[in-house]
């Protein structure tokens, strides 16, 4: 068995208020991503998905702070890495794409320049060389007329195109790990499918591992080999995608899957009701270490 690319070991993270008060957000999250693997992280808003990815990037802002645990990237603990080294990893070995393609690009410079900057920054290329590489990068994310598009400003592009530009920037230096934080949420469904296929194919081609964060189970199912389900700062279940969808083990996962409408399911499964998960995020302070789901309960299950 090969060594994992990213190995998060019992990561505890919280809001540090002053010296003594500590409000936990992640309570011992552990998972591993193998080289080239696509790993999905699902969970509701506030369950700690994004904060996990920020911890990996080393971009937690005060008052957020890691209290214990390890994040090993190629065997190197990212939490103890000097700032300068960490910056060299970001964008180069670990890259990230965001939910909002409308705001993720600098409105004042051309997209070609913004992609080219990645090559200048991380690979010490000259600007001339970098411009050419930027056009190649645009072509690789299947932007039509890449040499003309490189001279465009972000406002001249549609959301889908901008997200492609973001992907081109993120993959410019052939990173080992791509963190995709709900990259398709802001896009409409047809564009969403294209962008997903693009991420899937490009990463498979280059052997880039993906940490895919989403609350859309359909998206996760189509792209990831393994899935972790997060709830209230804990990884409550983890399995192969197929197995997780077929036999969910945790109550919360069952609730999550039950809340998904299925097309044509009535003829197959008879009349069904969508399972309702009480839509208030549980008060963290009332959650015990072992039974996070208890205070909310799901219709039909006995608490």
């Amino acid at each position: 068995m090969t060594a994992p690319l990213l190995d998060i070991r019992s990561l505890h993270l919280g809001v540090a208020l002053g010296r003594s008060a500590h409000h936990p957000l992640l309570k011992g999250v552990s998972f591993q991503i193998m080289p080239g693997e696509a790993y999905g992280l699902v969970g509701e808003s506030g369950s700690g998905k994004s904060v996990t990815s920020l911890a990996v990037m080393g971009l937690l802002k005060r008052p957020l702070a890691v209290s214990s645990g390890e994040i090993l990237f190629k065997g190197q603990n990212l939490l103890t890495l000097p700032k300068r080294e960490m910056r060299r990893l970001r964008g180069n070995r670990i890259a990230m794409i965001f939910q909002e393609p409308m705001t993720a690009l600098n409105p004042l410079s051309t997209v070609g320049r913004q992609i080219a900057e990645m090559f200048v920054l991380h690979q010490d290329k000259s600007w001339n060389e970098a411009q050419k590489l930027a056009i190649d990068a645009l072509a690789s994310v299947r932007v039509p007329n890449p040499d003309r598009r490189a001279k465009n400003y972000p406002h001249q592009m549609s959301g889908g195109l901008r997200q492609r530009v973001m992907i081109a920037m993120a993959l410019a230096c052939n990173p080992d790990l791509l963190i995709a934080d709900e990259p398709t949420t802001a896009l409409d469904v047809t564009v969403q499918a294209e962008v997903l296929r693009l991420i899937k194919e490009l990463c498979a081609e280059r052997g880039t591992a993906v940490l895919f964060i989403s609350h859309d189970l359909g998206v996760i199912a189509s792209i990831c080999q393994r899935v972790g389900v997060m709830y209230a700062g804990c990884l409550v279940e983890e399995n192969e995608t197929r197995a997780l969808f077929d036999t969910p083990r945790h109550d919360y996962t069952k609730g999550l899957l039950g809340a998904l409408p299925r097309l044509g399911s009535r003829s197959q499964h008879g009349r069904q009701r969508l399972v309702d998960i009480d839509s208030i995020i549980a008060d963290r302070s009332k959650l015990t270490e072992t039974r996070f789901i208890a205070p909310r309960g799901i219709e039909g299950s006995q608490p």
Partner: protein, 273 residues
């Protein structure tokens, strides 16, 4: 984009001052200092002396043209110094936060608490009169508003998606500040610099009026007013024209600044019905 009447009036007046200052050596009919002739002192405006002559018989029109050079130099250089200090402090304070932010904020508050003209007076008293110390005095005393604006712009730009994206893509702090933040806040900084030019011209006139700025016999609008003080009943033109020059140039800079703000900041744009 529609620019209002005020903007064009401001542009026109500013252009007039710039033309006067730049072309003074060629379009002025006399020498501002050497053409003194006591025989023709205190003459009212006529065809030869358009704005009349002063107590030493020097042409007021010529002196106003050369005075524009000084006002422009002071306005531009002091605002460049102000902007560099203000932007550097404000941007780093907003971006890094922490103790540096506290320090810069404290310093800004201290600067705002002291009236800038009083501060400039103190600096002039230490450095002695003359153009270089005038530039230093006005350049060091007016950066607090620019600093405030740079800091608050940085704070709001810092949370923009592209700044955060730049962080995840491995940009260093300085690179983010200069490629992502600075270009995006140039609008308000430019407006501040233009408005500041107006107040710098006014401050220069005030300091020269008090005898601390440009020294006679070199023509500054402020020192011309000082000279005109005793003559105001006998030869009002000696006071009226420099006063008018100060008034119109400050008005021009302010209108230009307001117009720039209206066109650069979409939230502030005032629509005429």
């Amino acid at each position: 984009m529609r620019l209002g009447f005020n903007f064009w009036l401001g542009t026109g007046l500013t252009a007039l001052v710039i033309f006067a200052g730049v072309l003074a050596p060629w379009i002025a009919p006399f020498d501002p200092v050497l053409d003194a002739d006591l025989m023709s002192s205190e003459l009212p405006p006529d065809a030869t002396f358009w704005f009349g002559t002063d107590a030493q018989g020097r042409d007021v029109y010529t002196r106003i043209l050369f005075g524009a050079q000084i006002s422009l130099t002071v306005g531009i250089v002091s605002q460049v110094i102000n902007s560099i200090i203000g932007v550097t402090l404000g941007m780093t304070a907003g971006y890094w936060g922490g103790w540096w932010d506290d320090l810069v904020n404290g310093l800004t508050n201290v600067m705002l608490a002291i009236p800038s003209l009083i501060f400039a007076l103190a600096v002039m008293a230490v450095l002695g009169p003359g153009l270089p110390s005038l530039l230093v005095a006005l350049g060091l005393t007016n950066w607090s508003w620019t600093c405030r604006i740079a800091r608050s712009s940085t704070l709001s730009l810092k949370s923009q998606g592209y700044v955060q994206a730049a962080q995840t893509l491995g940009y260093g702090d300085l690179r983010i500040m200069f490629t992502q933040i600075l270009p995006n806040m140039m609008g308000p900084i430019l407006v501040m610099a233009t408005l500041g030019m107006g107040s710098a011209v006014l401050s220069e006139a005030a300091l020269s009026f008090l005898g601390l700025g440009i020294q006679p016999p070199f023509p500054s609008w402020g020192s011309m007013l000082t000279d005109a003080r005793q003559l105001i009943q006998l030869a009002p033109w000696v006071a009226i024209f420099p006063g008018l020059a100060i008034f119109l140039s400050v008005l021009g800079f302010n209108l230009l600044g307001d117009g720039l703000r209206d066109s650069l900041d979409p939230h502030m744009r005032t629509r005429k019905p």
